[in-house]
């Protein structure tokens, strides 16, 4: 600042006595007479020198142009930045460490816990990294670089179309397209961070390491999450590798059984694995009926999507899943605009529909579980989460009764969660008798005649382009769909995808589990169509967050845009309920962890597998551990240590502590048995499932 002032002064003096530069001789004499201005004189001389100096660079344009200012500012900023950076690096390391909250690892280490059971982590959908092994010319230089997850998504911005092409699978086979090989990144790096700074498993790994876990007793079962589960075995031998790894860890850690920690879709992947491993080859792994009992101590499911996720529906139907695929986050608003002609959504939908795994997340169990046109197990759910978070578990029943009464007066639109897709708000509220019935046969009638009429769009992008306008409108005319009729709907709008995927997944409820058809692998990932293995000492945990609004059903509308290559349906964002209603922006919300509703995460542990049931013939113990969501209190906490949301829960200290205690040898009863905040028990009672 001081120097700037001095410049001002100098300049002022300089211009005032500029005449010296022209005729300084006589002027000098005059000035000398004046004693008072002696100071000025010296200043004059100084200014003169400056003037002389400045005459030399006169060659360059003297005006301070805008460009120069820019350069100056950039240079100034850079220099300051470098200086600060330098200082930062000179500082001793310990000074800079943000005083981190001591994680549960440190505390439990002091308690004397040490590594006992080997731990297997099974990542969920989209969190695992994918890398390129062989690609088209447009992906030059990306060999063994991450296309998905892990580090930079810079490539997505640099060559988006190329990336989309490489991440897509073959539409008919659901395997690699010709000439493209994209594979899962193996090892812990596969899913520790999704993007720089956005942890997935890293916090859990770090805490486990505190009590002595390392490479030899901690394994990440990375798999290509785009494929159907059985295809990961066919293409990559992922299941065989997992089996071999578990056997190795079991032996090399002194015959200690393994604790598996699957997350999100990894839960049903691991369910598939448990069936696969005991099934005789060639379809299975040939481990024999005692394999699970011998090798696995506990399965600690985090945010389990046992019975599917409603988000998967909207994702497949109109690529609007809010974050089942993080792509939306990567493609902010700008991409939606058609000005750029990018048609992001259409491209994303085209890619997502080649991924079999998304179909695995469609709601399972049909109307029995998810409710029909007029009832749903969550009935009576209050969406005012801020109030509800104060209620205590012991008072749950009372509260619900009270709120039921209150709601009767205050809230008029009942949340018909059972209607997972309805066209228009009235269709979502009216009683079923007033609605036209959805008849799946109607679809086939229209489809056969008109399916291939409309080929004016040239290259078909999505299967919507193969549908005629008429049948698109027919779909909307049917008004409301439950989870059962939804499957028919999807079969109608995307016949090829469903044909491909339904060879790998099934979404029903088994009448008779001993029917030999249930030996087929397509039933293995559906907990309602498989028996758990015979391992009475094993434990199954359902650990999930509650207290966050979670998408449960949707109100749709026909998209006004009728041009080619666009998605004809979209969520009707304009539909809102009254205050306190569960309907917001065309979406009905229920309790859950932002992605998975409580119903899907908790039902199997609460009812389907509790005690000896037909799904759990050996009576494997189940525990429900719910974690109430609390947003981070300060910025320093980052994504929160008490978060209950689907991915952030992996940094929840209470959850980490539970996992570590079990890994160090505790049983479910020792960590406190069930811990329930939600209405899951009541919901389960309403579900009429033969056990």
């Amino acid at each position: 600042m001081a120097s700037v002032l001095r410049f001002r002064k100098l300049c002022y003096v300089e211009s005032a006595v500029k005449c010296t530069s022209v005729g300084y001789e006589s002027f000098e004499i005059d000035e000398k007479l004046d004693e008072k201005e002696e100071d000025v004189l010296s200043a004059n001389n100084f200014a003169l020198e400056i003037n002389k100096k400045r005459k030399q660079p006169k060659r360059q344009p003297k005006e301070w142009r805008c460009l120069d200012s820019c350069c100056w500012i950039i240079g100034y900023l850079c220099t300051t930045w470098w200086l600060l950076l330098f200082c930062y690096h000179c500082l001793p390391v310990t000074l800079l460490r943000v005083p981190e909250l001591p994680g549960p690892g440190v505390r439990l280490k002091r308690e004397g816990l040490t590594a006992l059971h080997p731990v297997v982590l099974v990542p969920g959908i989209v969190t695992g990294g994918l890398e390129l092994w062989e690609g088209r010319p447009c992906a030059d230089g990306l060999f063994r670089k991450r296309l998905w997850g892990g580090g930079s998504f810079t490539q997505i911005f640099k060559r988006p179309l190329c990336l989309l092409e490489h991440l897509s699978l073959h539409y008919e086979t659901g395997l690699d397209p010709q000439g493209i090989r994209v594979r899962a990144v193996p090892g812990l790096v596969g899913a520790d961070y999704f993007a720089p700074g956005y942890f997935v498993w890293a916090v859990l790994i770090e805490n486990l390491a505190k009590i002595g876990y390392e490479g030899k007793n901690l394994h990440m079962a990375a798999y290509d999450w785009r494929l159907s589960f059985q295809n990961t075995e066919i293409r990559d031998h992922a299941l065989t590798r997992l089996k071999s790894k578990i056997e190795l860890m079991y032996i090399s850690n002194g015959y200690k059984k393994v604790v598996a920690v699957p997350h999100s879709m990894g839960v049903i992947y691991f369910l598939h694995f448990l069936k696969w491993v005991e099934t005789p080859p060639p379809m299975g792994g040939g481990g024999g009926p005692g394999w699970c009992a011998k090798h696995i101590k506990a399965v600690m499911n985090i945010g389990p999507a046992f019975l599917g996720v409603p988000k998967a529906v909207s994702n497949l139907f109109s690529a609007e899943g809010k974050d089942v695929s993080y792509i939306r986050a990567m493609a902010p608003g700008v991409f939606d605009s058609e000005i750029l002609g990018l048609q992001t959504f259409e491209r994303v939908m085209r890619m997502a529909r080649t991924w079999d795994s998304i179909v695995s997340l469609l709601p399972k169990g049909g109307e029995v579980i998810w409710g029909n046109m007029d009832r749903s197990p969550e009935e009576g759910h209050v969406c005012d989460f801020s109030k509800k978070s104060h209620s205590k578990t012991s008072l749950t029943t009372n509260n619900v009764n009270n709120s039921d009464v209150k709601r009767g007066f205050l809230v008029k639109d009942l949340a018909n969660y059972g209607r997972i897709i309805s066209f228009g708000k009235p269709a979502s509220v009216l009683h079923s008798s007033k609605l036209p019935t959805a008849d799946s046969k109607e679809f086939s009638r229209t489809s056969t005649s008109e399916n291939f009429n409309n080929f004016s769009c040239g290259e078909a992008w999505t299967e919507y382009d193969e549908m005629s306008r008429q049948s698109i409108q027919n779909v909307a005319a049917d008004k409301a769909y439950t989870t059962t009729t939804l499957l028919d709907l999807l079969r109608f709008v995307a016949p090829k995808m469903m044909r491909r995927a339904e060879a790998h997944f099934s979404h029903g409820i088994a009448e008779n589990l001993d029917d030999p058809k249930y030996n087929h692998y397509k039933y293995w990932s559906n907990p309602l169509e498989t028996k758990l293995s015979d391992a009475p000492d094993m434990e199954i945990y359902c650990m999930y967050g509650v207290g966050i609004q979670t998408e449960r059903s949707y109100v749709y509308k026909l998209s006004p845009n009728s041009r080619c290559k666009s998605i004809p349906y979209q969520i009707d964002n304009s539909v809102h309920g009254e205050d306190g209603s569960c309907l917001k922006g065309g979406v009905y919300f229920a309790d859950g962890d932002e992605s998975v509703p409580v119903l899907s995460a908790g039902f199997m542990c609460a009812k389907g597998w509790r005690g000896r049931t037909r799904f759990n013939p050996s009576g494997i113990a189940t525990y429900i551990r719910e974690y109430r969501h609390k947003p981070p209190t300060s910025l320093m906490e980052g994504r929160g240590i008490e978060s209950g949301s689907h991915v952030d829960i992996m940094g929840n200290f209470a959850l980490i502590e539970d996992i570590m205690r079990v890994a160090a040898g505790a049983t479910g009863d020792e960590i406190g048995g069930d811990q329930i905040h939600s209405d899951i028990i009541k919901m389960s009672e309403r579900i009429n499932l033969g056990l």
Partner: protein
């Protein structure tokens, strides 16, 4: 203003004072016209501003260019390269894919010493924030930031050779462990990329990463590494339709895998319990790259005075100025202390003693290597044996057998003329150590001046007596290492003592497994002068330094002399002499011998070194240097062919440039 001007023009006799006034007014007018701009302009321009301007300008231009570069289509750099060097030859992967080769046998890589990455799992306070970050390999950023902390974490316990309390440093697993050593410095990456071209991927490639600081058996004890390798090989064979694996060890990995093959067939608890057929069932070929089967002379100088040129690449990270005592850093002492805790460095001490490496007055290499000849790379196999004859006249017989000699005259004198004080006598002499006040522990401070002098008085050490010397100067290290490694030649391989694991990594003290269908390749570079023997001197420096150092002032007589800077060089790949890399395949295991009872076929594949023709080639596609050979196209092609199913015969059998067979004849090894 115009009025004033006119006046000025007409009335020229006015005094200068007036003129000044005019100008003054003129100036004033100007000032009123554009006062802002003028003052603003003149305000800013100074040296500091020029600097800022300049930096800003450079930055902007740089960013602009960067932006251009990034938006440039990817094909341009290649186009430019082609324009300069002419069309590139296809890398072997592309070439062989065109020939129709595809994935066949799964491939296992076994990295060597120092090339594998290590990461931190538990550390002291000073290493906070480094959890699961690389300490070794990658950027080495932490080495510069907190060198002492780094050295502390990289060291092992001096007594047990395992983790020090509170520190857990573990090998990085997966292909990333050793694909690049540092950014841009490939190790396995080129080979992996080429294998991927014909269809290899994660499920058919496996990097057997291990903690290269530990002794081989300790990797099993601490990390169960050998069990993991066994389980992974079994898995790969099972999932690839019973196809046997092709194993590709490099450098020390060669010894490690030798150890593994014995371990896997030995019964538990010492071994893996795979049974005597395991290797025959699971391994198709072992393709050793630059294998120091019989040790490396460099490891001697490394242990003796940390002066090995690159056995620890750490040296390259501690450039010359760090040597100076001025900085008080004592880099070498720190390095020596660190490397001496690593048992694995002991595994590469020359094996086989005087029988293999030569005695006081003879060595198998004799004078046959022309150290000055750069032309060697153009030789075909036919004329290699002519060259020594030509040069024989002006070359003296080099006494390679004397691995360490004190003083040049000693190095060249005949053995009968050297007076030696018996080492054992001085060992019996008083063990009074002068306890110095040095902060840094190295064993030299424990042994005292007497011993140092005695060691120097012994004058000359051969491969046999070098062991005594090392036992003498660093008893703890050798005691620890001696429990895990052995350096002799077995008289009777059936002696039950050879079932102990310490013999498993010495090819002269073990039998190969019973697997007649297996193949063993020795693939290594030739044509680079390689350290083979040293001339030492006793340093005159202060107490707290290493008392011995290579006498770099000693030079050979002529240009072609093999003695340069105190080091006798022989033919090799810059690290491993041909003798060590090739002898087992050329003689020890050739045919049915007692070391190779089932007659496993062996093949020698030598690659003559040719430095990169221009800068664009990077580290060369025909290099024969110890690590750079991993980018040698001919070697990669050989590996890919074998992985795709070819046998050694189909490759062309032996492929020899050096005189290894001649030398092998001179070695009197009972077979």
């Amino acid at each position: 203003m115009s009025f004033l001007r006119r006046r000025k023009g007409t009335d020229s006799s006015k005094s200068q004072n007036l003129r000044c006034n005019i100008v003054k007014e003129d100036e004033k007018n100007n000032l009123y016209e554009s006062p802002r701009k003028e003052s603003y302009n003149s305000k800013k321009w100074s040296c500091w501003d020029s600097c800022c301007w300049f930096i800003g300008f450079v930055c902007s231009v740089w960013w602009f260019l960067l932006l251009l570069y990034n938006t440039m289509p990817a094909s341009i750099p290649q186009y430019v390269t082609e324009a300069i060097t002419g069309p590139l030859t296809d890398p072997p992967g592309v070439k062989l894919r065109k020939e129709g080769l595809t994935v066949n046998h799964p491939v296992v890589f076994v990295p060597g010493i120092v090339t594998g990455g290590l990461e931190l799992w538990e550390g002291h306070q000073c290493a906070e924030g480094l959890f699961r970050k690389r300490l070794w390999g990658g950027s080495f950023g932490e080495l510069y930031k907190r060198p002492l902390c780094w050295a502390q974490h990289m060291s092992l316990d001096n007594e047990t050779g395992l983790d020090p309390p509170g520190i857990r440093v573990r090998p990085v697993s997966g292909l990333v462990a050793a694909d690049y050593f540092a950014a841009g410095y490939f190790v396995w990456a080129v080979l992996i990329a080429n294998l991927a071209q014909i269809g290899y991927e994660e499920k058919t490639m496996y990097m057997a990463a291990y903690d290269w600081r530990l002794s081989f058996q300790n990797t099993e004890v601490r990390d169960q590494t050998l069990s993991r390798i066994k389980s992974n090989i079994e898995l790969m064979v099972a999932t690839n339709g019973g196809k046997k694996v092709v194993v590709i060890p490099h450098s020390m990995g060669v010894l490690y895998f030798l150890h593994f093959m014995k371990w896997v067939e030995a019964p538990p608890p010492m071994g893996g319990g795979g049974g005597s057929e395991w290797c025959a069932k699971h391994i198709k070929a072992v393709m050793n790259i630059g294998g120091p089967f019989l040790g490396v002379p460099k490891s001697v100088s490394g242990l003796f005075s940390v002066e090995a040129r690159d056995i620890a690449i750490a040296r390259t990270f501690a450039p010359g100025f760090l040597d100076k005592d001025v900085f008080g850093l004592q880099t070498f002492q720190h390095l020596m202390r660190m490397t001496r805790t690593w048992d694995s460095t002991v595994s590469m001490i020359p094996k086989g003693g005087e029988t293999i490496w030569g005695g006081l007055d003879w060595s198998p290499e004799g004078s046959s290597f022309n150290c000055g000849a750069k032309t060697l790379r153009n030789n075909s196999i036919n004329n290699t044996d002519q060259i020594p004859n030509i040069n024989l006249a002006n070359m003296k017989n080099v006494n390679y057998g004397r691995i360490i000699s004190f003083g040049k005259d000693v190095a060249e004198a005949h053995s009968s003329k050297i007076e030696r004080v018996d080492l054992l006598d001085s060992m019996k002499a008083d063990m009074l150590a002068n306890l110095t006040n040095c902060d840094i522990w190295i064993e030299y401070h424990d042994i005292g001046d007497h011993r140092i002098k005695a060691a120097a008085d012994y004058k000359v050490y051969t491969a046999g007596s070098i062991l005594d010397l090392l036992h003498f100067v660093s008893p703890k290290l050798m005691a620890r290492g001696g429990a895990h490694f052995s350096y002799g030649i077995a008289d009777n391989l059936d002696d039950p003592k050879y079932q102990h694991y310490k013999y498993w990594s010495n090819p002269l003290e073990t039998k190969l497994p019973d697997a007649p269908d297996m193949e063993i390749y020795s693939m290594y570079g030739v044509g680079i002068p390689t350290e083979r023997a040293y001339v030492y001197k006793v340093t005159t420096a202060t107490d707290c330094s290493i008392p011995f150092q290579i006498d770099t002032s000693v030079e050979g007589g002529s240009e072609d002399s093999c003695l340069k800077g105190g080091v006798f060089s022989a033919d090799g790949d810059e690290t491993v002499p041909v003798l060590s890399a090739g002898l087992m395949a050329a003689k020890g295991w050739r045919g049915k011998t007692r070391f190779n009872p089932s007659g496993i076929p062996t093949y020698i594949r030598e690659y003559s070194h040719a430095p990169p023709a221009n800068l664009l080639e990077g580290r060369g596609t025909q290099s024969g240097a110890h690590v750079d050979i991993m980018g040698n196209f001919a070697l990669i092609e050989d590996i890919i062919r074998v992985a795709a199913g070819a046998t050694g015969k189909e490759l062309g059998g032996d492929h020899v440039y050096s005189d290894i067979f001649k030398w092998a004849e001179r070695i009197n090894l009972q077979l």
